[in-house]
Symmetry: C2
Subunit: 222 residues, 2 copies
DNA sequence: GTAGGTTAAAAAATCGATTATTTTGTCTAA
DNA sequence: TTAGACAAAATAATCGATTTTTTAACCTAC
């Protein structure tokens, strides 16, 4: 495992919190939808208190909107917000990648290679979309992990969840995905070569391509 | 009021949440301290459910640490984290300020002047430290408000709360504070002149000076 | 005297029920 | 027909009590 710093515990390991976050990011709820708490209670087979606490956390985290005395709602999607998220991702992940390349050690290099390999394997045997998502998230996290800033990592994680709400609106697009997957490996190569400038440029392009996928899906979605 | 975008509702207006956040940022709890929920319940005269929901939100927001089945704890302070926060503040607020200067309109200019003036007034009649803090936060928020990025504003807000946990460790330092206050007015001037480069440089310096204050207090605190 | 294990006390988390608020439907009057 | 007021239903929020887990104290055996 990584020896990197202890995160200030964003996700207390409450199972219902994790499950709900996964379902929100994965698009199991419609954007703008109002959550019927009692229905959720049954659907997920949890008590009211743990459920409400999870919803509160998710709201603080930006994956739900809490309205005064009227419960919780799935945030709306908008072109403007997608642009915002993609732009900030570019800035923050670029920054983090540069720092990671400056500080990452041999363990990081090994982790990176492993994460990229597992991702490719999961892509070839392309069952289990959820498993691919997990590995994809893990790869991008590994890439920036040794950037040295706990807070930067937190923000990047948050932005990625938000971004995925758009990206995962539609079904897979095999051609563009293959292109993106190749970039994953190129990113590893550049990172191992410690070429921060080229890596950052590629990361910019990678996020931009993902953005175009997300945007297309968002526009089809309407 | 501002006509700027609807934030994705970070703070649901639960009164206990706001009060607790203020007290956490203001240093009414010791860093590392374990929160006794029943004591809080009495102290703040609230029920268990609203209290726990507030604590959960604060944990998701990074102002508390939630440990598996052992309640909530005030996060520890560390030199490394302070450095991290200050550095990220510099990057993010600099970015936001540049964008705000590019997009801010006449209403913004007026808001800025008003916020700076109120802050100075509160400083002269220097009673009510809490009121000064409110106005200070409001000034810095106004400065970057029209940056056009909801998420950037969220992250900056979060970082400022964290930063203030360090800055507010000790009593006022009149000399350095005066210097910082002058910078507030200079920031307004540069913003009105739309000199993004100079404004950003000044902001860098402003945050750096604040950082030195915070660091001194943190070191005295041990 | 210390390590390991058992029990008692304390605290956190959860549950079921109650209360308060909002939403929906219906009726009346203009 | 429509706007407004009222009542009923639905839903959210809160409360008090119970259950579970952790922490502390104590005891025993080595």
């Amino acid at each position: 495992m990584n020896k990197h710093m202890q995160l200030p515990a964003v996700s207390a390991s409450s199972p219902i919190y994790d499950v709900l976050r996964r379902d929100l990011v994965g698009g199991r709820f419609k954007a703008g939808e109002k959550l019927a708490i009692n229905a959720l209670k049954e659907q997920y087979q949890v008590g009211l208190s743990p459920l409400r606490e999870a919803l509160n956390k998710l709201a603080a985290y930006g994956l739900l909107v809490q309205e005064n005395q009227r419960g919780f709602r799935v945030p709306k999607l908008s072109r403007e917000e997608l642009d915002d998220i993609a732009r900030l991702r570019t800035e923050l992940e670029g920054m983090a990648l540069e720092r990671a390349i400056a500080h990452g050690d041999a363990v990081w290099e090994a982790d990176l290679l492993a994460a990229a390999h597992r991702l490719k394997r999961a892509d070839i045997t392309l069952d289990k979309g959820e498993e691919w998502e997990r590995l994809h998230t893990h790869f991008h996290r590994t890439l920036v992990a040794p950037c040295g800033s706990v807070w930067l990592l937190r923000f990047i994680e948050q932005l990625n969840y938000q971004f995925d709400r758009y990206r995962r609106l539609g079904p897979k697009m095999p051609t563009i995905r293959q292109e993106l997957d190749e970039q994953h490996h190129e990113l590893v190569e550049l990172a191992l070569q410690r070429d921060a400038t080229a890596a950052r440029a590629l990361m910019d392009d990678h996020i931009h391509k993902s953005y175009e996928v997300a945007l297309a899906r968002y526009q089809q979605h309407a």
